[in-house]
């Protein structure tokens, strides 16, 4: 019977951890001992068998099934990924949200009565009066109040969230605007901005 030590050397060899001297001993022994050579070959064959069956693929949909079983993702992450994937849309919607927000807040904040300051304008409670026979120069804007025009306004008249009475003797040289709804208000803002911008361009040549 061969020494147990030879079996140990075989395992060292199979673990690829054998020293050159041990390998020499093993080879010499195997050449002289048929039994040990057979065992050694059987071991190598066994390993080859085990290795030969070692390729397996996970079933179809494996990954999808795992993901379906995970606890719910935090919404924050979903948002972040959406923003990453659609940067333009994200920027556009952010712009829209801020824009709408600021418009609504100005609409809601401006609940107080106010009027442009001009000579000859008479204010009684929440009513602004352009008295008979008087002439008001420039644009008149009234917020959250009434406007009675009995005289003349040389300019535009705008009434926001209020009413205006134009007496038969009253006269307005420019445009008359009444703004009562949120969308009118937005429209009014857009018109005003455009008008201002146009005026800046129109005024430029004069400043030169």
């Amino acid at each position: 019977m061969c020494p147990e030590q030879i079996i140990e050397l075989m395992h060292e060899y199979l673990d690829e951890e054998i020293t050159p001297e041990h390998e020499q001993t093993l080879r010499e022994h195997l050449q002289s001992c048929k039994d040990c050579e057979a065992v050694f070959n059987e071991l190598k064959k066994t390993i080859a068998f085990v290795r030969s069956v070692s390729y397996m693929q996970a079933p179809d949909n494996f990954t999808a099934n795992v993901l379906a079983r995970l606890p719910k993702e935090k919404r924050k992450i979903g948002m972040q990924r959406w923003i990453k994937n659609h940067p333009m849309l994200a920027a556009a919607s952010l712009f829209l949200v801020l824009m709408m927000g600021s418009l609504f807040s100005t609409w809601n904040e401006d609940r107080e009565f106010s009027v442009t300051k001009q000579k000859n304008l008479v204010v009684q409670n929440n009513t602004v009066i352009v008295p008979k026979g008087e002439t008001v120069k420039g644009d008149v804007i009234v917020r959250n109040g009434k406007l009675k025009i009995e005289g003349e306004v040389q300019g535009d008249v705008t009434v926001i969230n209020g009413e205006k009475y134009l007496a038969s003797a009253g006269h307005v040289t420019g445009q008359i605007d009444e703004v009562n709804e949120v969308f009118d208000w937005i429209w009014y803002h857009i018109k005003k901005t455009t008008h201002d911008v146009v005026q800046i361009f129109e005024n430029q040549p004069e400043t030169k």
Partner: protein, 187 residues
Amino acid sequence: MDAIVKKRIKQVIKGDQDAFGEIVELYKNSIYQLCFRMLGNRHEAEDIAQEAFIRAFVNIKSFNQDLKFSTWLFRIATNLCIDRMRKKKPDHYLDAEVAGTDGLTMYSQIPSNTPLPETELESLELQETVQNEILKLPDKYRSAIVLKYMEELSLNEISEILELPLGTVKTRIHRGREALRQQLRYV
């Protein structure tokens, strides 16, 4: 590849499930194979392999990022398999062949009127024999042999996965090899 895995893990820690999907894709075949070789049943293997990934996801914050992710994942899967094996009756695997339904590669469920080429049939029989002999190994030898020869992992990695000293891992592989040799020598 390790760099990609590390990056994905950072995303997973933040809660990104898509990044985890990529990790599953990378390791699904090895983890599924490990479970199948340990349990011998496709349904159980799929169930436990999925469970391993889910545990990895849930516990990702406790993963030490200095370690190899695959080592940690293999450890989770191996432990789940061993738990499952201990709950089963010892020779439950005998009827596992019936339960593994679409097992063309493993269980020759070939209609008898369509003869396969002889070599293919032999290779199917060999696969079946090898798998059955592996399933007969005691679980501590089985895990070591599967990790070594089917997952092709180094002895050091196996020792980290099983959380055992290197010497113990070697002894288990030696005994496993010897047991398999006894069974497969006349094949």
